[in-house]
Amino acid sequence: MTAPDGVRTAVDAAYRDEWGQVVATLIGLTGDWDLAEDCAQDAFAAAVATWPRDGVPHRPGAWLTTTARNRATDRLRRDAAGAAKLRQLAVLARAPDEPPMEEIPDERLRLIFTCCHPALPFPARVALTLRTLAGLTTAEIARAFLTAEPAMAQRLVRAKRKIQEAGIPYRVPPAELLPQRLAAVLAVLYLIFNEGYDEEDVRRALTAEAIRLTRVLVRLMPHEPEPRGLLALMLLHEARRTTRTEDGVLVTLENQDRSRWDRSLIDEGVETLDQALAMRRTGPYQVQAAIAACHATAPDAASTDWPRIATLYTELARLAPSPVVDLNRAVAVAMADGIPAGLALVDELASAGRLDDYYLMPATRADLLRRAGRSAEAKTAYEEALRLAPTEAERRYLSERLRNL
């Protein structure tokens, strides 16, 4: 007999680990997203009710899937319109006292690709992924994205309706579509991570969810390098998270307390990146992870391998061109080849005008001018950055810089 606390932990763990798979399997069987969610919910309620009495099953995932499937069969039986779906289910339905199936194919990959289909609006892809794959409640997702709960519920309803009515297929896309569709999936996962990474409050759990989902993706697509690249990137960022602010003030990479970086996360990040690189098909997430690894493995700020980072940014600019990447490259060049070379690149970017109103543009300029000892110009640039900075932690940091000029 398992102790109640142990059962509670087992149910919580099963919820974290199995929710997505139970929902994915039920959608695969019934094609009905709402029914799938409801029956998954019922199965977890049944676990809470019966596991304390009967013990935690040998394979919680198989038990939950079987229970949810039987629940779906019951509900469709009562519903005349469900007859057609029921016939499909009947093939797989099992008697309640029958032992659960030993091997259930993992349907989560189909679910991930469907949730992240480009015909859905981007915010809906994010919400749907968190709801159906990660099992976050609508209220939790609404809180994380600072949206009212009814609005978030509506977003989820519309997305599920569009999947059904527009005929978005429930499948892993064929090879010719895979690169593009996989990029869309990775973008959703990275956004979830970044939403959690930038904030100290309720959104923190999002980074853990993003890492968990990316681990699942890596396991399901072991021969694709970019999911591993993304996982490595997340782990390397996560390792530094607690040192990014101090008393609500942003701490730059250079000044972070490296002894407090999480070594085991860094090791895992580097190892994951190496596995990705060994496949010899580069991609933007692998390059970003390689840059993060350069920082994470430097014993101190002074020994950072800036020439290598500059080269990696050049590579990134080729794979995923963006003015933000160019700005980062300018910093790396400044650190590798001297401030004037970097400033020249920043000024070039500024005159192109594509980063107007982006606070890191004047903030970067200010920082390079400060390093070059050009205090008056640095002051003007810091003031401009202060005007544009989006978060309190960043404003506090910039004010402090301004005071110390």
Binding site: H117, A119, E165, A166, G167, I168, P169, L177
Partner: protein
Amino acid sequence: MKYVLLICDDETNPPTNEELAADPVHQTWVADLERRGAKLGGERLRPVVDATTVRVRDGETLVSDGPFAETKDFVGGIVIVECANLDEAIEIAAGHPYARRGGVEIRPVWE
């Protein structure tokens, strides 16, 4: 699934029917549709200057000239296709020359 493809562009230098028929991209597209057996129907439309929009508001029929909405691109043709799912409809739409000139809006048929 049945879809209507709304073939849209901004109508600057529209090709004639003959030019369109001679366009190798269009020829490839027609051949692809035939191979798929996906086409149920469709017509090319006259330019938007010939369009009339009808709206009924509070029981009153409002007739206005021009397209239904102020937009840069106009519907220049429709194609009705039957295919497996949205991904196949996207594939078909992406092959049409107007996907490059303007865009193709895919609308599932309300059945």
